[in-house]
């Protein structure tokens, strides 16, 4: 039994949590439609939409042809004229086919038209490596879209946030891009029942610590928490920040943490160069938090290569737990 006023929580997978958010939205708002490739009877390539088509019908859970550019554009046009579409890319890599509509239209229409319109579209991007799908089905392109003013870009790492950020995205009048790591779909966690929204643009401190700050995104948050546990046994107290949103970035939470710990490691799966870690590092370097640094900053990101097929090679090109652990130990020992 829950105490009065405390929402009931259940153990749900990340995919179930997203489905529950879409179910709530479809039930309470006739304007909400789902669009994407094979999201109907197939249930989506990762079974995220599941059986929603049975409940809401093919008019609201719309299988699109394999037309990413056109499909994304239809979602943009529909959002412009009264619907609240949630558009699923089958793989985030396929967003490359739809960049025109995402970058030139969805992101800019409001600004270009002097604020006369809004584009309340939500796009979902199954992202990341680890599935053996090789270079065209494994990318982490969130920083691409994070570079575009007019978009908001989030990366939930827990089932609770996956649901809460999707509902927040639907409440938002601006286009929100949600990057979901494919390896997280089966991960489990406590998820509040009913409707709630996780604020966009707010990072979460997943573990408090005094010795160093690890800023991580998406699945790297889970890895960083594993690392923090190991470090604890070694007497190193790491703070883990789940960035959650890369546009906007929660500058205050990151800077306040670095001022406390004096050390910063950024961990993200996207290609290291010109990536999220560069932005976080620069943010610290340009602020008074820089004065608190007791060590050079370390960035751990994806290798300067496409994602390879061979499982060992695939693991080698994105940060793994030993890589993070090694970097943290070196930093703690002043070996950076």
């Amino acid at each position: 039994m829950n105490a009065p006023g405390v929402p009931e929580t259940r153990e749900l997978s990340y995919a179930q949590a997203i489905r529950e958010a879409m179910d709530i939205a479809l039930a309470e708002d006739e304007r909400v439609v789902l669009m994407g490739e094979d999201i109907g009877v197939y249930g989506g390539a990762f079974q995220v939409t599941g059986d929603l088509v049975e409940k809401y019908g093919t008019e609201r859970v719309i299988d699109t042809p394999i037309s990413e550019l056109g499909g994304a554009g239809v979602a943009v046009g529909a959002a412009l004229t009264g619907l609240r579409p949630i558009f699923e890319f089958q793989f985030s890599d396929f967003a490359t086919l739809a960049m025109e509509q995402i970058v030139n239209q969805a992101a800019k229409l409001r600004f270009m038209l002097g604020g006369a319109v809004s584009v309340p579209v939500v796009m979902r991007f199954p992202a990341g490596s680890g599935t053996g799908a090789a270079a065209q089905h494994s990318q982490s392109l969130e920083a691409w879209l994070g570079h575009v003013p007019g978009l908001k870009v989030v990366q939930p790492s827990t089932p609770e946030d996956a649901k809460g950020l999707l509902l927040a995205a639907l409440d938002d009048p601006d286009p929100v891009m949600i990057f979901e790591h494919k390896l997280l779909y089966k991960s489990k966690g406590r998820v509040p029942a009913g409707r709630y929204a996780t604020p966009i643009g707010k990072a979460a401190i997943r573990r408090e610590g005094r010795d160093m700050t690890i800023v991580a995104t998406s699945i790297m948050v889970l890895k960083a928490l594993e690392v923090a546990k190991t470090l604890e046994a070694e007497g190193i107290d790491a703070e883990v920040i789940d960035l959650r949103s890369i546009r906007p970035i929660d500058r205050n939470t990151v800077l306040a943490s670095v001022r406390r710990t004096g050390r910063l490691i950024c961990v993200y799966e996207g290609v290291k160069t010109l990536g999220i870690g560069a932005e976080i590092s620069a943010m610290v370097a340009e602020s008074d938090a820089f004065d608190f640094l007791e060590s050079p900053i370390v960035r751990l990101g994806g290798a300067e290569a496409p994602i390879p097929y061979n499982p060992e090679l695939e693991k080698a090109v994105v940060p793994q737990i030993p890589d993070i652990l090694d970097a943290a130990r070196r930093m703690a020992n002043g070996q950076v």
């Binding site: 609201r60 009264g82 025109e100 038209l113 006369a116 908001k152 601006d174």
Partner: protein, 335 residues
């Protein structure tokens, strides 16, 4: 009484409606000339794409549309805006980069929109408006509205993937959208013969199982007839159509065009097929106006444009400290 040789427009529309259509065509012509003149005087920053010679297509296609019906437009979109009822002063103010312009000076010539009149906007990306138009039609269908969307695009867009994806989706979902291709023979400098495998762009409708028709885009009545029929069909729930208006832009693609891909003779031949002169002749022939009445309409349009330019010029500029306003909604500002 009308006979079988009476043009569709005369049979269908009341004289005052036809007179209004001619007024709009003149307004477009004078608007474009005023824009060109303003550019020459250094009042306009950037470039522009003039639709002089294409007025029958813009006005004819909007004849049966209400303010609830939507249009999407193109980089050559001034005529569509005027045809859909835009405020001329706000259009010029936008050209001049003023805070009082349609886009508050943030969009310029290629981004004028007027949602209150159903105008979802011009577009700087060739083919960019096609999927958006299909999305607007999807909204109308889902929301149970009988609104139709007319999607303007040029011959250049018919080789973009977005064209094919948009037509296919509109067809499989039987959406209320009318695709109006303004084939002015050149995508910038590249002729339709060099760029496009089919002879008529309307032939591509067959690939998407929708009606496709090619009409004389300089004949107001022919354009109105084709689009009205397609709008009626769309409103009834019978799905999309593709209409190809054969027309010609008298001016270059944009201000940088040296016209090296076409001859003076070709331009002159098309100028002799002026859609506004043709419309005037039709109205005279059917006793709706006389030459004097037409001259008055032309003079009134010129005066209206002159006044709009003067008012727009005197409007305030945006503040530079607001250069990043409206990137996000107030309630959703991002860092």
């Amino acid at each position: 009484m009308f006979d079988e040789n009476t043009p569709y427009a005369v049979r269908t529309y009341a004289p005052e409606v036809l007179i209004k259509a001619l007024q709009k065509m003149y307004l477009i012509r004078k608007f474009e000339e005023g824009a060109e003149d303003s550019y020459t005087r250094g009042l306009i920053h950037g470039t522009m794409h003039l639709s002089i010679g294409q007025e029958a297509s813009a006005v004819g296609a909007c004849m049966s549309l209400t303010d609830d019906d939507k249009i999407t437009s193109t980089h050559r979109g001034h005529g569509h805006c005027v045809a859909k009822g835009a405020d001329l002063t706000k259009m010029f103010a936008e050209f001049f980069g003023k805070e009082t312009g349609y886009c508050k000076g943030r969009g310029g010539s290629m981004h004028i929109a007027d949602p209150s009149k159903g105008n979802l906007g011009a577009n700087g990306i060739v083919g960019g408006g096609l999927p958006i138009a299909v999305g607007a039609a999807l909204s109308a269908k889902r929301l149970g509205l009988d609104d139709v969307t007319v999607c303007f695009f040029g011959d250049g867009a018919n080789n973009e993937g977005a064209f094919h994806e948009a037509l296919n989706m509109a067809a499989i979902w039987r959406l209320p959208v009318v695709f109006v291709c303004e084939n002015n023979k050149y995508g910038m400098s590249t002729s339709i013969e060099r760029s496009t495998a089919v002879k008529n762009i309307a032939d591509r409708a067959a690939a998407y199982d929708m009606p496709g028709v090619t009409v004389n885009g300089n004949d107001f009545s022919a354009v109105a007839q084709a689009v009205d029929r397609a709008v009626t069909r769309a409103r009834k729930g019978d799905g999309p159509s593709l209409i190809e208006n054969l027309t010609y832009r008298w001016r270059g693609h944009s201000k940088s065009d040296r016209n090296r891909y076409r001859t003076k003779e070709e331009i002159a031949a098309w100028q002799a097929r002026d859609p506004i002169v043709r419309m005037g002749e039709m109205l005279i022939e059917h006793g709706i106006l006389d030459q004097n009445g037409i001259s008055k309409i032309e003079a009134a349009a010129a005066a209206t444009i002159e006044a709009a330019i003067a008012e727009a010029k005197a409007s305030p500029d945006p503040h530079v400290d607001q250069a990043t306003r409206d990137v996000y909604s107030q309630s959703g500002a991002a860092a």
